[in-house]
């Protein structure tokens, strides 16, 4: 790899400055502030704070609402990830087999990734609206069958579907790239050995995809914890009755609706540690995965 060297270090510093400034202002500063708040009791309207040590954490961890938020976050993360990865794998395999029209599919499947989470949420709000579209019809046939604004598990299903839909595109790109990096002659050899397409998928393509599966699993789980805010906010607002109060959303609602800055700060520290742990797992294992020659 070519590297540029600067004779005077101040040029390098100058070139780095904008990026460092952005990271500092938007990441390190707020993070440091959050750490500080997590250990103090902050007054909602400003005007001083008191050092309270781990009291904020003790309060959160003994709060049943917090644990139900953790539970639904895990359900959401695992279900949305599994659904998104499963769907994208199937779609990628179809595109890889170059069935008719695969070029159009390829473009269409990448699009959702370019759509902002609130827009996805809004779209799904129409789709799952009990009074409009397909579900209004369902509800006329069997009244009250579908209403995510009233029935908790239906609200959870709704955000899972929306979140999975948004993540399909990202996983799809990686799966397709991984599938296309499997030499065609391997598939051909398996075809000569008598394996039908489905058998080849199970015996050949899936095992060779394991590094990609692992990578995407970690990325998708991490994303589900942090990137789900927009979807929850537009689709359910955390309700009904906190049924979809994901960790990231609870931070927002506790902090900015409930004015519990300190509690929200402590929650965000917990979430930050969780994401850092996942990132660590990813760097530690994904980078060293078995690579086949």
């Amino acid at each position: 790899m070519r590297r540029a060297y600067f004779k005077t270090s101040w040029i390098a510093a100058l070139l780095l400055a904008p990026q460092l400034l952005i990271i500092f202002v938007f990441f390190y500063w707020p993070s440091a502030q959050a750490v500080y708040w997590a250990f103090t009791l902050e007054q909602p309207w400003g005007g001083g704070n008191t050092w309270v040590g781990f009291d904020n954490f003790r309060n959160i961890l003994s709060d049943p609402y917090y644990w139900s938020s953790v539970r639904v976050s895990l359900i959401y993360a695992v279900a949305a990830t599994a659904l998104a990865m499963g769907m994208s794998l199937i779609l990628a395999m179809f595109v890889d087999r170059q069935l008719a029209g695969y070029k159009a599919y390829r473009v269409a499947l990448i699009w959702p990734y370019a759509i902002a989470a609130p827009a996805v949420g809004l779209a799904f709000r129409f789709i799952f609206n009990p009074n409009a579209g397909i579900f209004s019809y369902v509800n006329t046939v069997i009244p009250g069958l579908w209403d995510p604004t009233q029935i908790g598990w239906q609200a959870v299903v709704t955000i899972i579907l929306a979140g999975a839909w948004k993540h399909v595109a990202y996983s799809f790109i990686f799966f397709l790239a991984a599938l296309q990096s499997i030499p065609r002659s391997l598939t051909e050899a398996a075809a000569m050995d008598g394996a039908r397409p489905l058998r080849r998928m199970v015996d050949l393509q899936l095992p060779l995809l394991t590094p990609t599966v692992f990578f995407l699993f970690v990325i998708n789980i991490t994303d589900s914890f942090t990137d789900s805010f927009g979807i929850v906010d537009t689709l359910t607002g955390g309700g009904p009755f906190r049924a979809t109060d994901l960790m990231v959303y609870k931070i927002y609602s506790d902090g900015f609706r409930g004015f519990d800055y300190s509690g929200a700060a402590a929650q965000s520290i917990i979430l930050m540690v969780l994401v850092m742990a996942l990132t660590f797992v990813q760097f530690r294992y994904v980078e060293r995965r078995v690579h086949y020659t």
């Binding site: 030499p183 002659s185 391997l186 051909e188 050899a189 398996a190 075809a191 000569m192 050995d193 008598g194 394996a195 039908r196 058998r199 015996d203 050949l204 095992p207 060779l208 086949y292 020659t293």
Partner: protein, 368 residues
């Protein structure tokens, strides 16, 4: 019985025609080598037999059954790929036994058969390794074993030796021929290496630009090349070509510089016909001038150890001579060339086809 009959086969990708009107019958148990430069369609033809490429024109029959619309697994062919195409996540044993596993053979039988096959190609001690831990030659053996274990009717080889070093290549060449003799399947072997073709083949098929130039035993192809193309492709160093015109008496050819080469009576060109005279470097001998010897100008010589390759020119046409004797000529010196009369190949100047093609002995005729 697995005779392969290819009838007027052709291949087009979209509007690009890359192969046309290929007809060839490969007899049961025969070892046929398809030889040609890269891009001549030889691998495509092999893959059409295997079922990995659609047959867009004509038909291919294996053992009397037309296979145009059959899946690869239904054709009873096994294939050895150029890059071996071993399954990287499976052990050697799993690689070799995969076809049997797919076919649903019970595990005990399968393992016994894998062990026996591995033994026959000398892989017993590597059965638990992954392909990534093997050398090129060992991978090649795994690919062979994977093909053998299915006891195929037809064995297809797609340039299987091109990734090996020279010494291993010769060794594997013998191995392939040995295995062919042992299992008595019909083998089709694709290569661009004429030495592989000459040494392995019962019959050679020389292809060029998607058509067959010649079909014959290695000897026939070498002794009676059907066209300028085949003549230039087979033989190393390559055949010399001298353009000339047939005399009015039709018994000799006058070269551009006025020298004449007598023709044997079997060749019947038209008077005044433009021809290409082909002379193999190893059939030419260096001789004193005069007495009917062809005069040529010496340019330089290459040392081969066993002999020398002399580069000369007749007018502006390069001529090379392979000789065991070591002369020290000076550049520009005129030297005489002699050759037996039957070493003269005559090709039509325009079409490049051999003139006495149809006077060939019966055995040389295409059996297709």
């Amino acid at each position: 019985m697995a005779e392969i009959a290819i009838r007027n086969a052709g291949k087009t990708y979209g509007k690009t025609r890359i192969m046309q009107d290929v007809s060839l019958v490969i007899n049961n148990g025969e070892f046929v080598v398809i030889l040609g430069p890269s891009g001549c369609g030889k691998s495509t033809l092999l893959r059409m037999i295997a079922g990995l490429e659609d047959i867009t024109d004509g038909e291919i029959a294996i053992g009397g059954q037309v296979v145009n619309r059959l899946e690869p697994r239904e054709r009873g062919c096994a294939m050895v790929f150029q890059n071996y195409a071993l399954y990287p996540h499976m052990t050697v044993a799993e690689n070799i036994g995969y076809a049997l596993k797919v076919a649903g053979m019970p595990k005990a039988d399968r393992l016994a058969k894998v062990a026996a096959t591995a033994q026959s190609v000398g892989l017993t001690e590597f059965l638990d390794r992954k392909p990534g831990q093997l050398s090129g030659g060992q991978r090649q053996r795994v690919a062979m074993a994977r093909a053998i274990i299915r006891e195929p009717k037809v064995f297809l080889f797609d340039e299987p030796l091109s990734n090996l070093d020279a010494k291993l290549r010769v060794q594997m060449r013998h191995e392939i021929r040995r295995i062919h003799n042992q299992i008595s399947a019909t083998s089709v072997f694709v290569t661009h290496d004429q030495h592989e073709g000459m040494t392995l083949a019962d019959r050679l098929v020389v292809m060029n630009k998607g058509t067959i130039e010649q079909i014959g035993t290695p000897e026939e192809v070498y002794d009676r090349p059907a066209s300028v193309y085949v003549a230039g492709f087979i033989g190393s160093p390559a055949m010399n070509f001298l353009p000339g015109r047939v005399t009015d008496s039709r018994s000799a050819v006058v070269l551009d510089d006025g020298q004449t080469i007598p023709l044997v009576s079997a060749i019947k060109p038209a008077a005044g016909q433009m021809v290409q005279i082909g002379l193999r470097p190893e059939k030419l001998t260096l001789a004193p001038l005069g007495g009917g010897a062809l005069a040529a100008r010496f340019e330089f010589a290459e040392e081969l150890g066993s002999g020398r390759l002399y580069h000369l020119k007749i007018e502006d046409v390069p001529v090379s001579v392979m000789a065991a004797e070591k002369h020290s000529f000076v550049e520009g010196q005129t030297i005489g060339l002699r050759f037996p009369n039957d070493a003269v190949h005559v090709f039509d100047g325009a079409s490049g086809l051999r003139l006495d093609l149809h006077h060939a002995p019966a055995a040389a005729l295409v059996s297709a």
